[in-house]
Subunit: 355 residues, 2 copies
Amino acid sequence: MRVSVSLKDVAERAGVSIKTVSNVVNNYRHVTPAMRARVQRAIDELGYRPNLTARHLRKGRTGILALAVPELGNPYFAELAGAVIDVAAEHEYTVLLDHTGGRREQEILVSQGFRAQVIDGLILSPIELEREDLLARDHDAPLVLLGEREYDLPYDHIAIDNVAAARTAIRHLLAVGRSRIAFLGARTDRVNEPSHLRLRGWRAELTEAGLPAPDSMIAPTGGWDHADGAAAMARLLDSGVLPDAVFAYNDLIAIGAMRVLSERGLRVPGDVAVVGFDDITEGRYGTVTLTTISPDKQTIARLAVQSLVERLRETAGAADDPETPGGTRPPGSTRARELRADFRLVERESTVGGG
Amino acid sequence: MRVSVSLKDVAERAGVSIKTVSNVVNNYRHVTPAMRARVQRAIDELGYRPNLTARHLRKGRTGILALAVPELGNPYFAELAGAVIDVAAEHEYTVLLDHTGGRREQEILVSQGFRAQVIDGLILSPIELEREDLLARDHDAPLVLLGEREYDLPYDHIAIDNVAAARTAIRHLLAVGRSRIAFLGARTDRVNEPSHLRLRGWRAELTEAGLPAPDSMIAPTGGWDHADGAAAMARLLDSGVLPDAVFAYNDLIAIGAMRVLSERGLRVPGDVAVVGFDDITEGRYGTVTLTTISPDKQTIARLAVQSLVERLRETAGAADDPETPGGTRPPGSTRARELRADFRLVERESTVGGG
DNA sequence: ATGAAAGCGCTAACAA
DNA sequence: TTGTTAGCGCTTTCAT
């Protein structure tokens, strides 16, 4: 049975040296066809397969990237994860997925390479992580950050323009005649406000339109899913506030809110228009389809993977070529980049429907 | 910078041997407290962290399990993945996720360890994979199968009782007075029918109730998501068939179907009752909440990981103890187990609502 | 209780 | 073009 056939076994079988077998396995150019065939036969007969762990140890790289998101159960992140896996595969990387629950402790652990020191690079979508946590990061694998949080640290950051996106959403609501627009999904309980950019966009656009943007129109949520959206909407209505539109931090919150609106006998968009954020598939199949901001997930995934791949290439290059200055520089100290992905507004029934 | 501090460096710093440092790192019992402290100090000063790749090479195991599902964008699998990650973490394993698109080629690749020879074990949820593909599997990592497909091969298989679950769903529909119950989500175009068990349950329960179960009531789908459900529902209605209930292969299909029903002015459940399968969160927040079969995902995840962990322990044990017969037996040749997780029917508005 | 040394399987200098 | 050999960092006998 395949109790581990090694290069050595193949070499013996073929009557050549280990190096030659290695050359064949790695598609090294200067191997005579005859030799290649001979070795290949031995490989096939023995069912040899390279031991990646050994290769990794030797090369100092594993070919594995990690992606850590707050919650895989959120379709946005699941869809993003799928995209990242596919892009990584194009670069011959495998993806190890983790979810942090958006909890700071867990995010710190992940950023430190917890149960993933085997990784070459990390894509992290932080919620509660603080600048100091990242500052204290003692791990050499390149890191790229995703999402709304900004840290001013030497790590590439990929996001859409959240302020502009929020303003686009609000502008759309204004255009369809709304003026009392609530914001669902803030986190006023926390020092850092994960949704501050979208909130800022909401405030800016309203202000610019000469409309009030009172705190009473901001409904905080504990988390970011259906249940949180439903709870926030219910609380808002119970507090006596009746908006004529709702802009939600994400689609899950928006859908949870719509459910409550419908339970209370309010029509969407007749009584209350709703705009979400993320463009998850779910939003396209409700009884009332959801207008939403659609971030370009493909691009986000591509930029994230590319960022890591480039950083890794740099490192490898520096190692190969001692002349290259900066070879021993701390990883990521090159220049951090702010990378932008596109977004667009997708108009559906929750703002322009007949209801 | 942490250009890789090794055991050797720590040993030199502490003025002890590599073995002693290793002992400390691995919490070996017989180390004097004084020595432990001394070594620990060196470790801290140097910021040493063990190189897992090296450890893996040496021990022949990586601590990584892979989970391959058809589609991460399907919340059922995303939620399941989350559960698997958590359970695996309890056993100190990391999870590498992959998605196959339900395509046979991809499933074969994954089962062969494509871009994951670094894994200790694999959890695979196959759709199109054939028995012969598995028979030809030449890979020593233990494998456990998830889902409706059955292969009669020496691999543990974890699933709920799909026939019973389907019968439960149909029985419920009969109980609420329906009799013309369509099945959405078959794959009649294929030799193997991934949904054959649920289909069998549908047929059995109808037959037992003395009702017809005509093929005209079976709506095939190309895939398994919202769009497929919507398309199938539309086709069914267009063909002139008007069921008074729909049992869908999964929740996404059910929700897609509900969307079409609502577009056509049909009320759920008034005109058509709908039952799904999976109990994804989405089903709890539609304008009409979805009655569904809720498989116990936690248990499925737990059983799957446990199965692998046990197999891996066996192998490790056999390696440690040459006396153990079966140590060189092909992995998985021990005894394959059929493991069952529970399910329950969750009644919601799509069958018992006011609509 | 601690040390010395072999070797996991592979790649990459360097030799031939 | 092919062979020899020295490690990558770790665990693990076997000594001491």
